[in-house]
């Protein structure tokens, strides 16, 4: 077996006195598309946000594309050290948010070209050329000069995916990418993700889209109350869940 591209082990995270992650471990192989499902408050979004240090874990180890960070005591570390570590990790991670979080004062192309230019020192001309290619890829070639507000939610989320891809991440993280979308716009976003999967991108998706999870995922992670309860083949988890809690959760969708 290959070494996993992304490996999380023993991850703990509390908000105040409330434990959110209680020692989560997960390995993801290169090219996998993994869906994380579970009831609200189970810690799935927090797990995802820990993977690029938007939340700083209390303890545990994160390893992505060869960058390994031991998280114990990191929150009390000098902000500079922390920033340096987080920055290293983020070089390999692209993130897509539920609310898109596009920068409203920039055009779509500017949104995409900003990070490569500013943080990777790619010349602006190249950053824009590469950005245009990415926009073509997500089907938004004609929208380069639009502002986010002039586009539908689905288009904005596709642009956000292009923006995350622009820094050449090894892993793409999606935090409920279709939850803020009107139902008829969900498909176009999921199509982009399927296309990326076909191209071999490693993707981790926190989602409520059970159909997408089932159709597209290589496997599904079920979380509850800060723990991973079941990791299973997508068909098996839906047809024959092993864990009682998984059964109860999925029962609501059938």
């Amino acid at each position: 077996m290959n070494t996993p591209l992304l490996s999380v082990s023993g991850l703990h995270k509390s908000f105040g006195d409330t434990p959110i992650l209680k020692g989560v471990s997960l390995d993801v192989e290169k090219g996998d598309l993994v869906s994380i499902i579970g009831p609200s408050g189970c810690g799935k979004s927090t797990l995802l946000r820990c993977m690029n240090f938007l939340e700083i874990p209390d303890a545990g180890r994160i390893s992505i594309a060869g960058v390994t960070i031991d998280c114990l005591g990191l929150e009390d570390a000098p902000p500079k050290d922390l920033d340096a570590k987080a920055h290293k990790l983020r070089q390999h991670v692209g993130m897509v948010f539920q609310q898109f979080n596009l920068f409203p004062h920039m055009t779509i192309l500017e949104n995409i070209a900003l990070a490569p230019h500013v943080s990777r020192n790619v010349p602006e001309k190249d950053a824009r050329a590469n950005g245009l290619q990415l926009l073509e890829k997500v089907g938004l070639g004609a929208f380069a000069d639009r502002y986010p507000v002039q586009m539908s939610g689905g288009q904005q989320q596709r642009a956000a995916i292009a923006r995350a891809l622009a820094v050449n991440p090894s892993v793409m993280l999606y935090d409920e990418p279709t939850s803020a979308l009107d139902p008829e716009l969900v498909a176009e976003v999921l199509a982009v993700m399927k296309q990326l999967d076909a191209e071999g991108m490693t993707q981790i998706v926190v989602t409520h889209e059970m159909r997408f999870a089932r159709d597209a995922s290589d496997y599904i992670v079920f979380m509850e109350a800060g723990n991973i309860v079941e990791i299973s083949d997508e068909d098996e988890i839906f047809e024959n869940p092993k864990d009682e809690r998984t059964r109860r959760f999925l029962g609501r969708f059938q």
Binding site: N52, L54, D83, A86, H87, R90, Q91, V93, G94, M95, F97, Q99, N101, L102, F103, P104, H105, M106, T107, E110, A113, L114, A115, H117, V118, S119, R120, E124, D145, Y147, P148, V149, Q150, R163, A164, V167
Partner: protein
């Protein structure tokens, strides 16, 4: 020693004396003198042509000439005259200051340059008074920090109202707001006697002696002034000056031991009366206002200058404070919060007075312009900081998260993502603040700047036309502010619309493009 060598030495000595004298002459000595010439006839005041005049002005010119110094005038508000002396803003003050034991403990006085008495004035038709005791229970006006004020305060039952300008006090008698005014005879002669609604009432009260005030330690200048004073009294020059101003009274003649009759006709008094006769009609009044255009222009430019530079300062400091408060570590946050709370919790006028009159006590002397700009800038910085803080806080958290997730540093996130968005949010409130600042800038007249409000004081107290001048100055403020009001409305229309929800005009939003500002 031979006779010829003696002669040679004498010649050398003479040459050296002449040379040293020539050096002294070359570096001409000056006499910095201060007064409050706003409505201060006949002491010192601005004539309609904006020339400084007055019997004190003439006396100080004569004295300076006698002393071989060049007189340099420094304008200050009445209440600030003595403090300014302590702050070394000027060498001496000549402004109708009475020599009293209380004042003599604060400053050094020259010998008297004028001796007079207090004159009571009330409304025409009221029965005359014979003693101050009769004023018990009545509201009587006077100027603050004067001997007349002390006299009134020592009379039981009198309700004393202190004014900053004598014209206002007499105006209130004429309007029936107060019963009468007790003030020095020269003031009454110039401001009350010509008014048909007012009358002199009662005998001469007390004895008033004016002296030139100096800094407590400055005894050498005191002696120099006293010598010059004695010289111009003895030569009759003093009598000439006071006669021309119609102020050569038996009281002053007796004090100086000179003949009672004036030596010259009272031409200055007559020209004052002629200049201040009420304008018969609107056109004449308008023409009179137009005559003040240099003061109005100067005042408007000063108001604009102080406001614009003050605002730029406020924006710079305010922005720094906001960043400190929102993103700084706790000591910076604490400092910024403290600054904002203190500045917002204290009046701007007091801040200005501290800057201008207080700081010289610890060795920091600011020019009036610098004090005015700093006062406004430092004050508005606190309000700007809160504006910007609100602007920064209004940007959703997800924006910074997205920037960080993309690999931008915190400061890059601020620079490229957060600040450009907040800029749009705060532009309308900042424009509105500038309009407020423009109006608050009227307070800088308290630190002797001749801004529009200073121009108002000067014109109103020369024309006695408070209503017309007030309207005129208000109109100028309005006109100056109008473009900014329009600008505020424009920015509000274009930029406050929530750019995430409504259509927007992309051209307007292409402010700082990252490509152009990037560079290390």
């Amino acid at each position: 020693m031979s006779k010829s060598s003696m002669q040679r030495i004498l010649l050398l000595l003479v040459a050296a004396f002449v040379a040293s004298h020539a050096v002294l002459r070359a570096e001409e000595k000056i006499l910095r003198w201060a007064a409050d010439p706003d409505s201060n006839a006949p002491y010192g005041f601005y004539k309609a042509n904006d020339q400084l005049a007055g019997f004190e002005f003439d006396i100080i010119q004569a004295l300076a000439k006698q002393m071989g110094r060049k007189p340099v005038f420094v304008q200050n508000d009445w209440d600030g005259l003595i403090p300014g002396l302590g702050s070394d803003l000027y060498d001496c003050v000549i402004c109708g200051i009475e020599i009293t034991p209380a004042k003599a403990s604060e400053v050094l006085f020259s010998d008297p340059y004028y001796v007079t008495f207090e004159q009571f004035v009330n409304r025409k038709g009221e029965p005359p008074i014979s003693s101050l005791a009769q004023l018990s229970g009545k509201e009587i006006g006077t100027l603050s920090q004067t001997a007349a004020q002390t006299m009134l305060e020592n009379t039981p039952g009198v309700i004393v109202k202190s004014y900053a300008e004598e014209v206002n006090a007499y105006q209130d008698v004429a309007n029936g707001r107060i019963f009468g005014v007790l003030l020095d005879y020269p003031i009454a002669k110039y401001y009350a006697a010509p008014n048909p609604h007012l009358q002199f009432s009662g005998p001469a009260f007390g004895q008033i002696i004016y002296g030139i005030a100096l800094k407590k330690e400055n005894t050498s200048l005191q002696q120099e002034i006293n010598r010059a004073l004695a010289a111009i009294i003895a030569s009759g020059e003093m009598r000439d000056i006071l006669s021309r101003w119609g102020l050569w009274t038996p009281t002053v003649a007796g004090a100086f031991g000179q003949p009672e009759a004036p030596s010259l006709p009272d031409i200055e008094y007559q020209s004052f009366l002629a200049a201040h006769a009420e304008s018969p009609n609107l056109v004449a009044r308008m023409r009179r206002y137009l005559g003040f255009w240099p003061v109005l222009l100067q005042g408007s430019l000063m108001t604009l200058q102080v406001s614009i530079v003050g605002m730029l300062l406020a924006i710079g400091i305010g922005f720094t404070l906001a960043i400190m408060r929102v993103f700084g570590p706790w000591p910076l946050r604490w400092v910024a919060t403290l600054y904002i709370e203190i500045i917002r919790g204290t009046p701007l006028l007091i801040q200005l007075l501290i800057l201008f009159y207080g700081l010289p006590n610890i060795g920091i002397k600011l020019s009036p312009l610098l004090a005015g700009i700093l006062g406004l800038g430092l004050n508005y910085a606190a309000y700007e900081a809160e504006n910007y803080r609100a602007g920064l806080m209004a940007i959703p958290r997800g924006q910074m998260e997205a920037a960080r997730a993309l690999g931008l540093t915190h400061s890059q996130g601020l620079r490229f993502v957060i600040i450009p968005q907040s800029f749009r949010l705060v532009l309308p409130p900042v424009t509105n603040d500038f309009i407020s600042l423009l109006k608050d800038s009227s307070l800088v007249s308290a630190v002797t700047l001749l801004d529009l409000t200073g121009a108002y004081n000067r014109i109103a107290t020369q024309t006695f036309d408070y209503f017309g001048t007030g309207l005129l100055i208000a109109a100028i403020y309005l006109i100056i502010g109008l473009p900014f009001v329009r600008l505020a409305r424009w920015t509000e229309l274009r930029l406050t619309v929530d750019s995430r929800r409504t259509t927007l005009r992309p051209g307007l939003l292409s402010l700082p493009k990252f490509g152009r500002t990037h560079g290390k």
